[in-house]
């Protein structure tokens, strides 16, 4: 390598591409990983038994999608390995407005989900409730505030009572927050006239062999995370565009260097041929030289990229306030995840692309007449 300024500039651009591609992919992977982990911790645990009529996308099914907790599961519930949740529709009247919500009854002492349900274990006249920050913001209530809730029980009888907010929790999982109010399970069962009934039953650990019961179906991670997986896949396509742009930038730098290099080094090319190199050997020489840019860039990227990527994996990337209101679960900080596969695949892809891009302009050498090349008169 001539190690001229242009060479180093291109190597630097290429090394930036290496680091930014890995960092960017790491952020996306970290975000996806965090979304998956949070969804498991806050909502689906190790899987969920659904009542056979339960359909989370159809609120009209909630009237019928409940039933007694099957006796086959009782033992596991008592052991703390399963957590029944009752879900019902209701209307709240915060600040004189009317809003439809989901009431979700859960055992205040449960340890399966990350929901902070302990504040529900209190003896007050009103119905204790915990809500998420998004819900609190939407209904403009905070801890200690009251509101009226109206519901219709299993017999179709309407009733109403006051709810007191005993806790507001922050979560990255909007589907346990938006439009939902969490109550003690026994209170909701009483309100709905549904003793010992539930809509879903969440498992603590992943269940490899679900207990078979009539009227209840077990939904595993593959099923429950399918929406999230689909969202991640769509997001990955968007992320790939950034990947391609960065790769194109690096390719452009290498292509430009090679074209200029061949233009400026015609006499050298002619000399190589005069000394006995075949055109194929000269093409290989220039291609390898171009590919060496990629290897050098990978080494330089390692020098400053490893400390930077490590620091990012520890410090994380702070997301701007309000980002999680956009619909996708976003933590305050995203911790990038760099897998060995990510680093190796990125390095290989960049090196292969650089080699191909280095090769393309060298085909011009094959058309060179050595006598003209020696004089530097070809192009």
């Amino acid at each position: 390598m001539g190690a001229g300024l242009r060479t180093w500039l291109n190597v630097l651009v290429l090394s930036f591409s290496f680091v930014i591609i890995i960092w960017h992919r790491g952020i996306l992977d970290g975000w996806n990983h965090q979304a998956e982990v949070d969804t498991i911790n806050w909502e689906i645990g190790g899987g969920i038994y659904w009542h056979e009529k339960y359909d989370p996308y159809d609120p009209f099914t909630l009237t019928d999608s409940h039933g007694p907790v099957p006796y086959q599961l009782k033992k596991e519930i008592n052991a703390g390995n399963l957590e029944p949740i009752l879900i019902s529709q209701a209307t709240i009247y915060p600040d004189g407005h009317m809003q439809t919500v989901l009431l979700k009854g859960i055992d205040p002492e449960q340890m399966i989900l990350a929901l902070p349900t302990a504040p529900l274990d209190t003896m007050i006249n009103e119905i204790p409730a915990v809500i998420g920050t998004r819900m609190a913001k939407s209904i403009k209530l905070k801890t200690g505030d009251y509101m009226t809730v109206r519901w219709r029980d299993v017999n179709g009888v309407f009733d109403a009572a006051d709810i007191r907010i005993v806790g507001v929790f922050k979560t990255n999982v909007p589907s346990v927050d938006n439009g939902q109010i969490w109550l003690p399970l026994d209170r909701l069962q009483k309100m709905m006239q549904m003793p010992d009934e539930a809509t879903i039953i969440v498992a603590a650990k992943e269940v490899s062999e679900p207990i078979l019961t009539s009227s209840w179906e077990f939904k595993d991670h593959d099923f429950l995370l399918s929406d999230l997986t689909e969202m991640i896949r769509s997001k990955s396509i968007g992320g790939s565009i950034m990947y391609i742009i960065l790769l194109l930038l690096a390719m452009l730098a290498i292509f430009d260097t090679q074209v200029l290099s061949i233009f400026r080094r015609q006499r050298e090319i002619g000399t190589h041929m005069a000394l006995g190199m075949t055109r194929g050997q000269v093409i290989r020489l220039f291609t390898v030289e171009g590919a060496m840019h990629g290897i050098l860039a990978a080494l330089i990227a390692a020098i400053y990229g490893i400390p930077f990527l490590y620091w990012q994996s520890v410090a994380g990337l702070s997301m701007p306030a309000g980002t999680d209101d956009m619909g996708m679960a976003v933590a305050e900080k995203i911790l990038p995840v760099y897998s060995v596969g990510l680093v190796i695949s990125t390095t290989l892809i960049v090196l292969i692309v650089v080699t191909i891009v280095s090769f393309l302009p060298t085909r011009r050498i094959a058309k060179m007449n050595p006598t003209e090349a020696i004089k530097g008169k070809v192009i």
């Binding site: 390598m1 001539g2 190690a3 006499r267 050298e268 002619g270 000399t271 041929m273 005069a274 000394l275 006995g276 190199m277 075949t278 055109r279 194929g280 050997q281 007449n369 050595p370 006598t371 020696i374």
Partner: protein, 250 residues
Amino acid sequence: MDNSNIIQIENMWKQFPMGGGKFTALENINLTFGKGEFAGLVGPSGSGKTTLLNIIGSLDVPTKGSTIILDKSISDLTHKEAAQLRNHHLGFIFQTYNLLPVYTVFENVEYPLLLLDYTSDERHKAVLDALEWVGLSDKEKSRPAQLSGGESQRVAIARAMVKRPEIVLADEPTANLDAENSHHILQMMEKLNKELETTFIFATHDEKVIKYIRRKISLLDGKIEKDEHLEMGDRRPETGDGRPETGGRA
């Protein structure tokens, strides 16, 4: 073909496309060169001497006629075979030296041997010998940019000679050198010609070179005007512009 001739050219023409027609650079050339010749293709610019040198060097092919170099017909060689012929049997010396700028003197001289797959020890010894021939043993670690014109041309000679080729082709080797360096370089090549029996063919219009060659082939407008073998008296000037009258001669 006469077996003592290592180069045999018969009825050879070279034409280049120009506009809608053709430009004839060489016309009906008939020449032979034997082993150990020290010959010059002499003529003004545009007379065809570099074109002829390029064809002898298998860098170009004739339009018609026959050019046999070391029993190989240049017209019939593939690119790869032509490269192999240059690699094994031919050495080139250029007017502008054409050294590879990022390599050291040692690496420049070593380069042709790398293409010939010499071992490291063989290369090392051959390069040191070649640098000793041209008196540059102390410059092996220098880069071309650190050398004078005379030194650069000596490196080019060492690079051409290191693999001990049968034929060395030198295109205006003294054009960029002053008189003293020119004489020094020519004496060196004359010495190598005699010691190693290498055939040297120059393309030149430099009077200094013409004083040294033993055979002068005059070209004009692509045709051979005269082919003469020179005697010592024809070749040596009475005054030498710094050239020792017999110095460096073997």
